[in-house]
């Protein structure tokens, strides 16, 4: 049984090579043989060979001008590469699959492919993952399907948070807000803004948080929402250095509805404890000076 796929592989290879006797490659037959070989290899748990077979099958499909099948093969190849933990190949294959999907004019599967790639690489190569997430979001936005991009934005922001790059994470939440605005998804928009403010506060950046809050207050939908009130409570609590109030707000139901990464941040929020109290003292002194 294991020899059969090998034989099929070699036969298919021969079919694609141009020699004196063969003046045009028979891609159709070759692709079929490659697919069968790949199945055989997979059944035999020879993932490396299966991956190679799938690659060639995909190329065959490309030659036959059926990008859809080609993309599907590429994705399978990438999944196998993921199992084998060959991360570069994972990224490459998924990117190629995504390009092929775009060729078909199907944006959703394209971004799905990139999303899968990013998820696979999150732990191993976070920068690459972030790049992949961004590309996926762009593809969706170009196609006008912003709503699907929400999940990707959130995942990207959580990767940034893991990397402790809070400003970038907050930026992504604001981008989420923009996307939500385009689709009138006010609830997601307000949650995104509140998450951005919490991220800034967690990064000990009270000024940025306040600026962010002021910017977001310009937006009607946010102004009328629960999240707005929670944000203002949080910021006043921070300004007064009131730790109890901060904890209470962090446990409120509005915050508990956000992404679980943000909830974890919010529960830890008064880590900027010292800075909050310091800022408070500074404010008091200033007021005294003015009076």
């Amino acid at each position: 049984m294991s020899s059969d796929p090998e034989k099929m592989m070699s036969k298919a290879d021969k079919m694609t090579k141009l020699t004196l006797t063969r003046w045009s490659a028979d891609w159709r037959g070759a692709t079929e043989l490659y697919e069968q070989a790949a199945n055989g290899f997979r059944a035999a748990n020879k993932y490396e060979k299966a991956k190679v077979a799938l690659e060639k099958a995909s190329q065959g499909q490309v030659m036959q001008s059926s990008p859809w099948d080609a993309a599907k093969h590429m994705e399978s190849a990438a999944a196998l590469a993921q199992k084998l933990s060959i991360w570069d190949e994972v990224a490459d294959f998924y990117k190629k699959a995504s390009e092929l999907y775009v060729e078909c004019g199907r944006a959703q599967p394209a971004s799905d492919a990139l999303g899968k790639a990013a998820r696979a690489l999150e732990d191993v190569k976070p920068e690459v993952a972030i790049q992949l997430y961004t590309d996926a979001c762009e593809i969706l936005e170009e196609d006008g399907r912003d709503q699907m991009a929400f999940d990707l934005y959130r995942a990207c922001a959580s990767v940034y948070i893991k990397l402790e790059k809070f400003a970038d994470a907050a930026t992504f939440f604001l981008r989420l807000g923009v996307a939500a605005d385009k689709c009138d998804a006010t609830n997601s928009q307000c949650k995104a803004y509140l998450s951005a403010i919490i991220v800034y506060l967690y990064g000990h950046d009270l000024k940025q948080a306040e600026k962010c809050y002021n910017d977001c207050s310009q937006i009607d939908a946010f102004l009328k929402s629960d999240q707005n009130r929670t944000a203002s409570r949080l910021l006043t609590a921070y300004n007064e250095g009131d730790i109890e109030e901060i904890k209470k707000v962090a446990c409120s139901s509005t915050v508990s509805n956000l992404d679980h990464v943000i909830i974890k941040l919010a529960r830890k929020l008064p880590t900027g404890d010292v800075t909050a109290v310091q800022m408070n003292a500074g404010d008091d002194l200033d007021e005294d000076d003015l009076t």
Binding site: R145, Q147, M148, C183, A185, N187, S188, D226, S253, T254, N257
Partner: protein, 269 residues
């Protein structure tokens, strides 16, 4: 006709017929060149309004608004009392067309004004009347608390304290009951918050899926029409295969073959 139209028409009609308003003309005539008369007229009107308000207070059930109205009346009284000297000065002035008797009369009027102002009931003099429902109690005055009415509030205040202690007890009881009610309300509010959040998430998810459903719809439509097409063609093909003519030919040929076989069999036998 709208309300606004009605109002404007009424206004114009009133203006037109103002010249027939005897009272108003009399007032206008009186206060024509005479500062004293004008001011005195104003005084009269203010005193009348204050008296009306005092009447309303006695009918007022709500203690808070009664207290507010009494305060207003006291304020008006104070203002009037301030303006009395001005009026007196004007009263002494000689105005043309005025007899000495009228001048004297004016002076008397002005002197009578302060008494009238004081007479306006503002909750201090009317105190015992409004608290007739309660048993009057002998009270000790509170010297350390000074009010501008020189402690005439005492009766009022102590009777208030009777009722206010009743109120206080009721208040405490109600507060305890409400504390437990408040807890229940808090829980309900938390539950509602969770429900609201879930509902809006569901809303957004459904919004997300609407265009997907539309796509599915169109794709499935295409697939159905393709299938129908294929079915029709298949039916035609099968019919052709099963057509009776072919069938008869098949049977005839079969008979011929069997006939030949039988003949050969007979011959070889």
């Amino acid at each position: 006709m709208t309300v606004i139209d009605i109002l404007t028409r009424v206004d114009t009609i009133c203006k037109k017929y103002d010249k027939y308003d005897v009272d108003k003309q009399r007032e206008a005539n009186i206060s024509g060149d005479d500062a004293f008369a004008r001011l005195y007229g104003a005084f009269e009107t203010q005193i009348e309004t204050a008296l009306e308000k005092a009447e309303l207070v006695t009918k007022e059930k709500n203690r808070a608004s009664a207290v507010a109205m009494n305060a207003e009346i006291r304020r008006t009284k104070a203002r009037l009392a301030e303006e009395v000297p001005k009026l007196q000065r004007l009263a002494v002035k000689r105005v043309k067309g005025l007899t000495t008797e009228e001048l004297a009369a004016r002076n008397d009027l002005v002197l009578a004004l302060p008494a009238r102002i004081e007479a306006i009931p503002d909750g201090t003099a009317g105190g015992p009347k409004s608290t007739s429902a309660w048993a009057p109690s002998t009270t000790t005055s509170r010297p350390d608390i000074k009010f501008d009415s020189d402690g005439r509030f005492d009766d009022d205040y102590f009777q208030e304290s009777n009722e206010s202690s009743q109120f206080r007890q009721e208040f405490e009881m109600r507060r305890i009951k409400q504390a437990s009610g408040d807890q229940g309300l808090d829980m309900i509010s938390e539950g509602l918050d969770a429900l609201k959040n879930m509902a809006s998430d569901m809303n957004e998810e459904l919004d997300r899926q609407v265009p997907l459903m539309d796509e599915i719809d169109s794709k499935v439509d295409r697939a159905t029409s393709d299938l129908k097409n294929t079915n029709v063609r298949l039916k035609d093909t099968v019919n052709q295969l099963r057509s009776s003519r072919n069938f008869c030919i098949d049977i005839v040929l079969l008979c011929i073959v069997l006939g030949i076989a039988a003949y050969l069999y007979n011959v070889l036998k």
